[in-house]
């Protein structure tokens, strides 16, 4: 537990002081949300109808952006080798690093969603739904991405291949995230049905992601 906390704090400090991947994710998120009205035309009715989908796609891509450095930086400077030798299970290491990564990318995205929702003319209920679904859904994205990040940690151009590997697995999260956000503002399905599945996906991804990424890191030595 002590090593878990130490690792978490180390990664949070690194994120705050070096590079600031959390800020970058937010800026990227803003860039995508700004880009889409240029392609679709500034029709506010259309934008508010597809707003949840735009925000979810943007959040997914923004999560993907920082993921390739999740284990790669540690692999390059050798700290990953030290962590492999340490008497801590690899699963704990993965859990701490993924949690730190989510706190610096997923959480800011979810909290900033209402502000970005203004750009696509979301109603207040829809904004609240976006915050809640992103809060519950983005951990699934980060954990799924962690497997890809662990598999590609030692590759020089891991970023592109990481995206190809993990995007198919993120589809269910995207489906139920958007479905829950849409259900909150009306429609035939009650909000809880897709929302509970979204929560279940996050929990499953947390288990598979932790063990899968740990296995991949052990296999990669």
């Amino acid at each position: 537990m002590r090593s878990f906390r130490a690792l978490l704090i180390r990664d949070l400090k690194l994120a705050a002081r070096v590079g600031g991947s959390g800020m970058m994710g937010l800026v990227f998120f803003l860039a995508i949300v700004t880009l889409i009205p240029f392609a679709l035309g500034p029709d506010l009715n259309l934008l508010s109808r597809i707003g949840p989908a735009i925000l979810w796609i943007a959040a997914l891509l923004a999560t993907l952006i920082g993921l390739d450095r999740l284990f790669q930086a540690d692999e390059e400077d050798g700290s990953l080798d030290l962590l492999r030798l340490a008497p801590v299970p690899m699963e704990i290491v993965v859990l701490a690093k993924v949690l730190a990564h989510w706190l610096t990318t997923g959480l800011p995205l979810a909290l900033a969603a209402p502000f970005f929702g203004l750009l696509v003319a979301l109603s207040p209920e829809a904004m609240l739904a976006m915050v809640v679904t992103l809060l519950v859904g983005t951990p699934a994205l980060t954990f799924i991405g962690a497997i890809g990040a662990a598999l590609t940690a030692s590759l020089r151009r891991g970023g592109l291949i990481l995206a190809i590997l993990v995007l198919p697995f993120m589809i269910p999260t995207l489906i139920f995230g958007v479905a829950a956000a849409n259900a909150a503002v009306g429609g035939t399905v009650p909000f809880e049905t897709p929302f509970l599945i979204l929560a279940a996906l996050s929990l499953i991804a947390a288990v598979i992601g932790t063990f899968g990424a740990a296995a991949a890191l052990r296999a990669g030595e």
């Binding site: 598999l151 590759l155 891991g158 590997l165 589809i171 899968g212 296999a219």
Partner: protein
């Protein structure tokens, strides 16, 4: 049996002896099956001649799942038993499975245009099959990205096992969701719902496709073993030259 085959030399001679027979029977069955499809099997009363696409489409879909399962089992072999041929089998199965998936999607879309009026529909079966193709392509990309065969094998195994969740989704998508794609009509409880005049050619083609796939798989495994031998010999030769220069 499986343990005996851990010796690549023994596998090479056994596979080499089997390969011509498997390929021969595959070609023969394929000829019989295609003859039946074109000249014996009746045209459908609603679909007309386009029903013949089904004889390629359905076996290709089965084999796409079959080769994914082969890869998943081999991945277990790599991770759990460290069987030396398991990752060779995985690597050889990936392009074959990807090709069958692509054949399934293309023939399905060609059939969909006259029958459903559209090449593509975002229906659960079609979408999960498209995801299957993406997973296959991701696996192929990862094989190409990591140079050292053993490390690549272990990395791909993990990805393959995670991707195996999609296999039951593809199979049962027509039962779980209300889809445009028709539900299972051959492998179902209560027997097939397809008339024997069409079922027999379908099964003949399915067996023929399976044998074609197995023949390609054996040939691919042999090639991969030879490729690894060449790689090792090249490294040894380079080391020898290095030692002499030093």
């Amino acid at each position: 049996m499986i343990r005996d085959l851990a010796n690549p030399t023994r596998f090479m001679s056994l596979a080499g002896a089997l390969l011509p027979w498997v390929s021969g029977v595959a070609v023969l069955l394929l000829a019989i099956g295609l003859y039946q499809v074109w000249f014996v099997a009746p045209a459908d009363y609603q679909q007309g001649e386009t029903v013949k696409i089904m004889y390629i489409h359905v076996p290709a879909a089965w084999l796409s799942l079959f080769f994914y399962s082969t890869m998943a089992l081999s991945a277990l072999g790599t991770l759990v038993w460290r069987h030396p041929l398991a990752d060779v089998s995985q690597k050889a199965a990936a392009p074959i499975g990807a090709a069958f998936t692509l054949i399934c999607l293309v023939t399905g879309s060609l059939w969909g245009k006259p029958m459903w009026g559209t090449y593509w529909q975002w229906d659960a079966r079609l979408t999960s099959m498209l995801v299957m193709l993406l997973i296959y392509l991701g696996i192929l990309a990862l094989w190409n990205a990591i140079e050292e065969p053993n490390r690549a094998g272990r990395a791909v195994s993990i990805l393959t096992l995670v991707g195996a969740v999609n296999v039951p989704i593809v199979k049962f998508s027509v039962d779980w969701w209300n889809t445009l794609h028709q539900p299972a009509s051959v492998f179902r409880l209560g027997g097939p719902t397809i008339h024997s005049s069409m079922l027999i050619p379908l099964l003949v083609i399915a067996v023929a496709f399976t044998l074609v796939g197995v023949a390609l798989h054996l040939a691919g495994m042999r090639t991969e073993i030879l490729r690894r031998r060449v790689r090792t010999l090249t490294i040894l030769e380079a080391e020898r030259l290095d030692a002499r220069a030093a």
